[in-house]
């Protein structure tokens, strides 16, 4: 059962190896993914991971505006990570912060290797991630959802991108830290991979880790990314299976 942190000297991991939200050290938060929920976007996906609630939309490939941002040999990938004012405990200003700008960049760079952008020179592919509720690990969840949204938009990709973070909390390497663990932990290590190609597209570390801890953490994260990729595949297929299912129920009636 979840318990609340009274003060900083409280341990985040109980003697039984159970974390504040009841999870084991190597356990992911519950994840829910849905594809194609927005009408106006070319592709869209919604993800819930623990208390994180994130909506991502993709527009493109589309004409580059302004023209000078276009590249002659490939599409320009643009990415915007943005948090809703009501997404955090304390209301935050909707104006982009320096953190938002850094995250927009690393998210874009996590997706770039996967998108086959050479097919669409002189266009832009725009990815918008809106964090509706935030509880730690939003950049990873955004990457996972962005990859779904890109696939939903029919943009050719070498592979999907799945992301997950590990942290060091109370001396232990833990998987998918939530906000409290992030804020009070000793290290945070977000990772993104292209699962079939086995290549890392996002890797950051904030904090202090020994080489052994880093490698153990990285392996734990990669394993989780593979599991998350399985859920991505389910979510993409479900969009089409749902149509088949509702067709059988209603006999394909026109709404």
């Amino acid at each position: 059962m979840p318990r609340s942190i009274q003060n900083k000297s409280d341990r985040l991991i109980g003697k039984d190896g159970i974390r504040v939200d009841g999870r084991r050290l190597d356990e992911l938060r519950p994840i829910k993914m849905e594809v194609g929920i927005l009408d106006k976007a070319d592709g869209s996906a919604y993800i819930e991971q623990g208390k994180n609630k994130i909506m991502v939309a993709v527009f493109g490939p589309r004409e580059a505006h302004p023209k000078h941002v276009a590249l002659t040999d490939r599409a320009v990938l643009r990415c915007r990570y943005h948090m809703a004012p009501f997404s955090t405990e304390e209301r935050r200003s909707p104006a982009p912060s320096r953190r938002d700008m850094e995250l927009s960049k690393v998210i874009r760079e996590a997706l770039e290797p996967a998108v086959i952008s050479q097919l669409y020179p002189r266009t832009t592919i725009d990815v918008f991630a809106e964090i509706l509720q935030s509880d730690g690990g939003t950049r990873c969840a955004s990457i996972t959802a962005a990859s779904l949204a890109l696939a939903d938009a029919g943009i050719p990709m070498r592979d999907m991108v799945a992301a997950c973070a590990v942290g060091k909390v109370d001396g232990e390497i833990v998987l998918d830290p939530c906000d409290i663990e992030d804020k009070n932990g000793e290290a945070d290590l977000p990772v993104a991979i292209m699962p079939n190609l086995g290549m890392i597209t996002l890797l950051q570390m904030d904090g202090k880790l020994s080489k052994e801890e880093f490698e153990r953490g990285l392996n734990m994260a990669i394993k989780a990314c593979v599991e998350i990729h399985g859920r991505q595949r389910e979510a993409l297929k479900n969009k089409y299976l749902e149509i088949e299912r509702s067709m059988e129920e209603y006999g394909g009636e026109e709404q």
Binding site: D42, G43, G60, P61, R62, E63, T72, D73, A114, I116, L119, Y120, P121, R122, T123, A151, D152, A153, G154, I155, P156, M157, R158, D159, M160, M194, P195, N196, L197, Q232, R233, L236, K237, Y240, L241, I243, E244, M247, G252, E254
Partner: protein, 239 residues
Amino acid sequence: MVKDMPLNVQRREIVIPGELLADGKYLAGANTIKEGDAIYATRVGLANIEGNRIAVVALAGCYIPAVGDQVIGRIVDIGLSGWQVDIDAPYPAMLPASEAVDHRQEHLKQDLTRILDVGDLIIAKVLAFDRTRDPLLTIKDQGLGRITSGRVVKISPAKVPRLIGRKGSMISMIKRETGCQVIVGKNGRILVSSRYPFREQVAVAAIYKIDREAHIEGLTDRVREMIRRMIMDASIHPE
């Protein structure tokens, strides 16, 4: 897991980007990439195996012009020598005045708006397109030109082949059953025209149904059934 079995997927299975389709002496078809001997899907779609060629029939994606394509476009701007046309592609298309008039109508070129004005819809053909320049259109051929009546609807360009059907079977069936004139733009814009607004509605409903259910087998029968049911219902309960 995959190395022993060369073929990893079944026909018509839904695949996602990065999914391994086959590992062995296969040819890489549409929406796939080959790395060594392995062939991976690059888009969400249905796996299609024909002989030793593996391809993916994409279920989503934007329209990329190809020379010879028939498209339905909208005039968005007029320049000195032609019109800029929106064909719902990532590239704006150009219709030069010389591709809209023949030598007998040269005098019209003085005022392009007399031929086509902003907001007009046209059926056009793609004359030229490559990676370095925007698509060029023509409306000089038979059957091309300004649209004057009917309704234009939009579906995903990825579903257009399904709307046309094998050897045009699906589109012929819709035209026959609804009595409508239907002109399909490869860019996903479809013109439906009939003297009877209700028949237009039925054809439009059929087109949207195909857009939604393109990946499910038995579509032609289901669409035909739906059209017949709608027409019958209307005759029993005329509005």
